[in-house]
Subunit: 137 residues, 2 copies
DNA sequence: AGGTTATAGGCGTATATACCCGTAATTGAG
DNA sequence: CTCAATTACGGGTATATACGCCTATAACCT
């Protein structure tokens, strides 16, 4: 049974997600939510489609994932002024605070990895992942 | 914004899943189902918990994922003879046939990656993923 | 201006994933 | 042998992910 590249990535992704989710749980965020909020902060006020494109996520997936964040008061979804079709995403103060509060836990998870996988190999992993994505996308 | 190891893995996993799912779609299997069937074949008749452990999957996740396969007649779930609590998983002939039929598509997807990421780097990726998992699990 | 085309999203549906809690069956201590 | 502890699993709930179809809005062409 030859190793399936996809299976290896999926397994590693599950493991990483579980590891980070455990670390972030006290802060009340999943790693998906944390990453999404941080990316939304970096993007600023942005439409759903544009955010999805930036995050390499399906549009409808991003739309659905906004649900829990919106219910938690972390983001607001408002109709675009110039284009009535667009739904603009705004990270609320509560969302920014949640990210700030979660950052120590996230850093701790990051450090747990960095402490056991030397910087060169970690950088190489990121590089190979990026290369893989450019091939498979 | 420092790169989150988890986010990078999740992104790559999504990309890979989409790539392989597209390749496998004509065969009527998702890559998750394909990988699961192949692992079940390798394991032989096995209980749900034991299979989940072998696949590094949550037990309840594996149990749920059996649903579509069972509905499609790819696997049978039978009560264990020696232990009435166990549910033994058996890949049916239909399941084996589905795997056989999907293998060309899978190989094509594998080859599309191998053709653009040289063997050394691909092997390194697998090695780094394994290392990551051993750290984060 | 009006009709056609294109774009932005929502909703239905389905799979994938994992947590918690409850139940059934086995194991083990005495 | 009995009963407590353990183990195996199902179901409820929730998030994450994506496809297809539909609607609303905008843009474009004549």
């Amino acid at each position: 049974m030859l190793p399936c590249h996809c299976l290896a990535l999926r397994r590693a992704s599950r493991t990483a997600t579980s590891f980070y989710d455990t670390a972030l749980a006290p802060a009340g965020l999943t790693v998906a939510q944390f990453a999404m909020l941080r990316q939304l902060q970096a993007l600023g006020r942005v439409s759903i489609s544009r955010a999805a494109q930036a995050m390499q996520l399906d549009r409808t997936t991003l739309g659905r994932n906004l649900g829990p964040l919106e219910r938690g008061g972390m983001v607001r979804i408002v109709v675009g002024e110039t284009d009535g079709r667009q739904r603009m995403i705004e990270v609320s103060d509560r969302g920014e605070q949640a990210v700030r509060q979660a950052i120590p836990a996230w850093k701790s998870a990051q450090a747990a990895i960095s402490g056991r996988l030397n910087p060169g190999r970690l950088a190489l992993l990121h590089e190979l992942l990026a290369e893989f994505e450019s091939i498979a996308s």
